[in-house]
Structure formats: C-alpha cells, structure tokens
C-alpha cells in the first residue's frame, strides 16, 4: 500500500518540529528515514502509526485518510527499538495478542501464529517467555507480532540499535528477506547509514524536520544534493576542503590544491566553494597530486585508513588496500581523482 504524507506538520507546545513535510512511500518498497537524532524521523514514524496527532496536513494510506484515526483503526505493524514484547506472556501469546483482541477464532489464531512463526524462524520458541530469549530472537518475535495481522505498512523504529554487531548483520538481511517475502510496504527509522543503505530501496535523509533528499542508496552516495548528505553517507566519511574559484578552476589557497570545475558549471571568480573528496578517490589513480603528512594510520585488515594533513592543517582521508610502507609522520604525495570530486557552494548546495 502506498503511504503519502501531505504537508504533514507537527508541533510540540507551540514549537514546530516538522513543517509541511511531503513524502510518498511506494507500494511494496522499503524506505529508510535516515538522520541524526532530533531530526524528526521518529516523530514522523509516530505520526504514521497514530501515536502522535498531526497538527496540519494529511496522512494517506492508499486512498484512506487516516490523519484523525487512532492507532487501533490504522492497521499498522510497528517494531520498537526495545521490541516492547509483553513480558508476562509466552511468545505464542505475544504474537497471538493482535488476533485475540480482534476476536479471531482459536483455530485461526493457532494457524496464523504458526505461519508467521515459520516465516520468522521462531516456530520452536513459541512456548517461551520473552525474558528467556536472546536479543535477535526477541527481534524476530517483535517482527512476527507486527506482521501477524497483515498490516498495510510495517514501521521499524531503530530495530537493530539494541543488538550486538554480529546479530545486527544477521538481522539486517533477515528483516529485508521477510519484507521482500511478504511484499509489505515498510519504513525503517535509523541513524545508521549502513543499515539504511544495505536494507532499503530508497533513503530519505532528514535534518531539522525536513527531508533533504530521497533517492536510491547508490544514487544518493554518488550524487548527494547537499554537503550534509555527502557528509552523512560514507564510512570513513568524506573530507572537505574550502577554497574559491579562480579562472574557472577551484583553488584552495592554503594548500595550493587546484581542481577543474565540473563541465558546464560557470561560477563568478572568487566565489567561495567547498569540495568534498571521498577517501576512495584519494591515494589511488588520479590526476591531481597532493602533498601532505600522514598523521594517522589504521589498518582494518583488508584495507588501511590514512589521515593526511595538508600544509594548512586541512585533512584528507584515504582508504587503500592494505600496505605497510607508510607510517604516521611520513611525507606523501598522493593522487586525487578530480573527476570524482563533489563541489558545493558555501551554503552547502551541490554545484
């Protein structure tokens, strides 16, 4: 089912947290609401599931306007960050609860619970209490409970935040698998760009109650619309150099780095610009040599990370296949791939 937010506005005690936001989630897709804490992503999620009231605008599930409906009538499945399993009920009763309050017959309940438990791989845990389950298993139960009554939309609020690193990897693919198998429209709220990029069809990046950009993960990575988006995606993060235009080229006066501007862009001489260089585009094949001093080196096994300080103190990051001929303190002159450089105006807009 397609979810549409039209001019959605939310205020708390007179403070407008979200101002006329528009968002369309396509039928069957999984969309990430990605942003730093306080950006309004959870507020948006709570408005969609009917915990918060909207102060302006509309929320549409397909053709249905649910803006003024309580949660009970919206048919939304939610997985909370701490799973919110009912501690006094068995796994079976947890999953069966939504069906019981709907007065389904016992036979139907048993059948539906079994089906969903098999889909989420917890069929053998049905007799246990939540307290006896591991984090990953609790997560599966929460998913099963959210999905058991075939909701129109599945909302996931930071579902992986409480898991350790290994389980997080596993559940990432599990949640995606279940979403694809059920074909349900899903919205994932997260502050972790890796989660968003690996699990979702599209990402909506939010900041200060606004959506900055919505795109497929790959497009967003390579084609960020603002410097905030460029900085938010990518690990290790992108490095920025400040400079200005000079005779149709970008010049960082402090370091002497000069880069050609992208084709078809004309900017008045002396305009302040910021250039973003991803670590994979520095220290490999390139066309602009940059001299600097290695101030930090870290090996991750397959790859090494380097921080290179330029003469004015600006830092460029580089990620390279593992090597051990460069140590902190070494002077290096590495190539920068100017074709992959991203140019932004001083207020952060992409050129």
């Amino acid at each position: 089912m397609q979810i549409v937010l039209k001019d959605f506005t939310k205020t708390f005690d007179g403070n407008t947290v979200i101002d006329r936001m528009n968002l369309t989630v396509r039928d069957g897709e999984m969309l990430a609401l990605l942003g730093p804490s306080g950006c309004g992503k959870s507020t948006t999620l709570f408005a969609i599931c009917g915990i918060h009231r909207v102060n302006g605008g509309q929320i549409l599930f397909g053709e249905r306007d649910v803006s003024n409906m309580p949660s009970q009538q919206r048919n939304v499945g939610v997985v909370f960050q701490n799973y919110a399993l009912y501690p006094h009920m068995s796994v079976f009763d947890n999953i069966a609860f939504p069906l019981k309050v709907r007065n389904d017959s016992k036979a139907d309940i048993a059948r539906d619970v079994r089906t969903i438990a098999e889909l989420t791989h917890i069929a053998e845990l049905l007799g246990r209490r939540p307290g006896q389950l591991s984090g990953g298993q609790q997560q599966r139960v929460a998913l099963a409970r959210a999905l058991v009554r075939k909701p129109d939309v599945l909302l996931l609020d930071e579902p992986l935040a409480n898991l350790d690193a290994k389980l997080r990897l596993e559940m990432r693919s599990e949640i995606r698998r279940i979403q694809l198998e059920t074909g349900i429209t899903a919205i994932l709220v997260t502050h972790d760009q890796v989660e968003a990029m690996s699990m979702c069809d599209r990402i909506a990046i939010m900041k200060g109650g606004q959506i900055l950009q919505i795109d497929a993960p790959k497009d967003m990575y390579h084609n960020p619309r603002t410097s905030f988006v460029a900085g938010f995606l990518g690990n290790p993060p992108i490095s920025f150099l400040d400079g200005r235009t000079m005779d149709g080229r970008f010049l960082d006066e402090g370091t002497g780095v000069t880069l050609p501007l992208p084709a078809g862009v004309t900017v008045a001489n002396g305009t302040g610009l910021t250039v973003g260089i991803r670590p994979e585009h520095f220290g490999h094949a390139g066309d602009v040599p940059v001299r600097g001093k290695v101030v930090f080196a870290e090996t991750q096994g397959r790859e090494n990370l380097y921080d290179v300080a330029l003469p004015n103190g600006a830092l460029l990051r580089s990620v390279q296949p593992a090597r051990d001929d460069v140590r902190p303190g070494d002077e290096v002159s590495w190539q920068l791939n100017s074709a992959a450089a991203l140019f932004f105006t001083e207020d952060g807009r992409r050129l």
């Binding site: 009917g50 915990i51 009231r53 003024n68 949660s71």
Partner: protein, 436 residues
Amino acid sequence: MPARSYLTGLAFLSPALFVLIGFFFLPVVLTAVFAFTNMSTSTGISGGSYVITGNLLGSLKAQGVAPTVVDALSQASFVVDEQSIAKAQAAGTDAQFLAEIEQQLSGKAFSEERAFERELKSLRYRPRSIRDLKLAVDQFELSVLNTRFASAAEAREAVSELVPSAPADVVDEIVDASYTGWRWTTSNFTRLVSSSDTWRLVGNTIFYVAVTLSFTVFVGLFLAVTTFYLPAGAASAFSMLWLLPRITPVVLYTVMWKWFTWEGGFVYTAAQALGLPAFNYMKGSVPTAWTIVIMVNGFIGAAFAMILFSGALKAIPVQQLWASEADGASRWQQIRFIILPHLRWPILFVVSYQTLSLLSSYQEIWLTTNGGPGRTTTVWALESFNTALNSYTGNLQYGLGAAMALILVIVGVALSILYLRLFRFDELLSRPKIEF
C-alpha cells in the same frame, strides 16, 4: 476527537473523583462553612425550634428589653375557653367539674393563679384534694415559657398575643433570640484571637513540632548512617526493630508506652528498685510528659526518616566511597563530605512532610497524655478535635472546632503548595505519549 480520549481518562478517574469529592472536597467545604457557625450539640446539626426559657428572659432583660415586656412574658395567665377546656378534658379532669367550669367561667381570664383557684374552689363539683385542684388549674394556664414553636411565625404570634403592647421589633428580637438551632457567626474566630489559651496552644504546638522533628531527623539520620556501615545482618536487625513502632497498631503502641511509664510499669518499677523518684511519668510531671509525647511520636517519625535516608544512601555510587577511603578520608570525613550532601533532599523532604503531619497529628497524644497534666501537652490539633468531637462535658462545639481545624487546613494547604514548588512538581509531569 480529543473529547474521546478525554472521556477514557475521566472514566478511569471517576471512581476516585467520586470518593475524593465526598471525603476531601466536601469535608473541607463543610469545615469552612461550619467554622462560621455556633453549631454544637445543643443547637443540633439540622435546624432548631423557638423556645423562650427563663434564662433567655434574664439575658434579654440584661440586654435592655423593656422589663414590662419581659415580666409579661414570664407571667402566666389563666383563660377558660374551648381550647383550655379540651386540654383539661384530655388531661383527665373530672367531667362534671369541667362542665361546671365551662358553664360558669367560660370566656373569663385571670392574671393571677390565686384568683383563678379561688373561683374554682367555689364550684360545687370541685375535687376534694388540693393536689387534684392544682392539677386542674394547671390545665388552664396559658404561657409561652418553655413552649416549643416549630417556626418563627408561630413564636411571634404567641408572643404578640401575650404582650400585645410590645413593639414589632422587640418581638422580633425576642423570637430571634429564642432560636435553639445554629446560626452564622464570626465569634469563633474573635474568641480564638482574644483568648490567651490560644497563644499557649500555639506555643505548645510549635514546641512540639520543632522538638519532635529534630528528634526524628537526628535519630533517623543516625540510624540510617550507622546501619549503612554495619554488616548486613546487624543492619537488618536494627532496621526491623525500628520499624516496629511504625507498623504496630497505634492502640497497642500507646498502651505499651503506658505500661512502660505508668505506676507499676517498667520504668516505675526499675526506678523504685534503684531508689529514684517513681511516679506516673506520663501524667505526673510536665517535663516527663513532654519527653514521652516526643518520644512516642519521634520513634514513629524516626522509622520513616530512616527508610528514606537508607534508600538515598543505597543510591550513592559505591565507587565514591571507595575513592574517598583510598584518599584517606576518616569515617567522619566520609559522612561529612559524601554522605550528608547526598542526603540533602531526603532531609528536606522529611522535614517538610513531618512538619505537616506533626502539626495535625494528635492521635498519639490523645491516647497517651491526652494533653495532660492539666493542659500542658495539648496541641492545636488535639484541642480542635476535643472541642468538636470529644468534649468531657458532652457539649461538642462543632463550630469552634471547625474554626480551629480550618486554620490548620489553611496552614496545611499553604505548606503543601509551598512544598510542591520546592520539590519541582512540574518535573513529575510528563505528557502522555499516546495522543489519541
């Protein structure tokens, strides 16, 4: 739409609202209302009637009502008419005699009993005994004195009939004064302000609250800090011991104190054995009475304080204590610089909470010294209670008691509101997260 979620909230709250309005809001209102009445056992709680008594006439005379009117009211007259004959008949006066009276004297009135009696004696069928004659005479007596009138109009009619010469405003004054029900007045408060007893009560109350409170806080602190340092077994034994006064039913608790301090009791027996002065310590002297009142209440308060303080102490990160010991702090320094600062809010809380409850508590005093010896250990709340609900003389002065209670209520509410501010009530409020 908000209306629907509001309804859910109110539905959940309604049983509580019902009880709270009945047993808090109404009592407060009634206390305030009755503080401005002279209600007592003699006036009753519902309305009264109109009765002119001898006493009332005396005080009316003193207030300047014309003596002729008063005398007229106190005089009886004897009238023979249908009414009085019917009355005499009902009282069992001899029928022949009565028929004779009706025949001979009908319509006559006598202002003096003797004159009427003389008339009757001259009749043929008069009773033989003097006593029967007197009884018959009584039936014809017409008087307002000690007659109960249900309404003011009836009383006014009776008075005017008896003293036709009295001006209307004097009649009104008399009828008004004869009302036996309660009436509105501010005299409770003027009486409280002008009475020297009031100030002694205030002094007693302040002394009692201050000393008991200090006892509570210091003993509570001492218990909490010492049990904190003791091994778990001993600590738990002492804290169980000190909680006993708080959970023991108040009747048994106070009776145990009586056993402890009265003649024949433990301290008495021990003092006798040691050759010390032995008497009823609870009632025998003012200093011992106060000591016992303070200990009886202080022990209960100390238990309360100890629980709060111990809870706060357990919340101190134990690393801080280890660190201070590693830094070479003595035990006293540890208490002074780490533990006491942590207890600042709990102490303030105990002080505020106990001030209020000591101000208005009288149960323990009532059941031990009952304010004695004399009225030396009487506090405001006890006096208010005794005045309104527990008087020895049997005349319960609800109005005056309510006035005293009202003052306590006002002080209590003012203090509570002050504490709400002090303890940042606003921080306890969190908005419901589900807005539907």
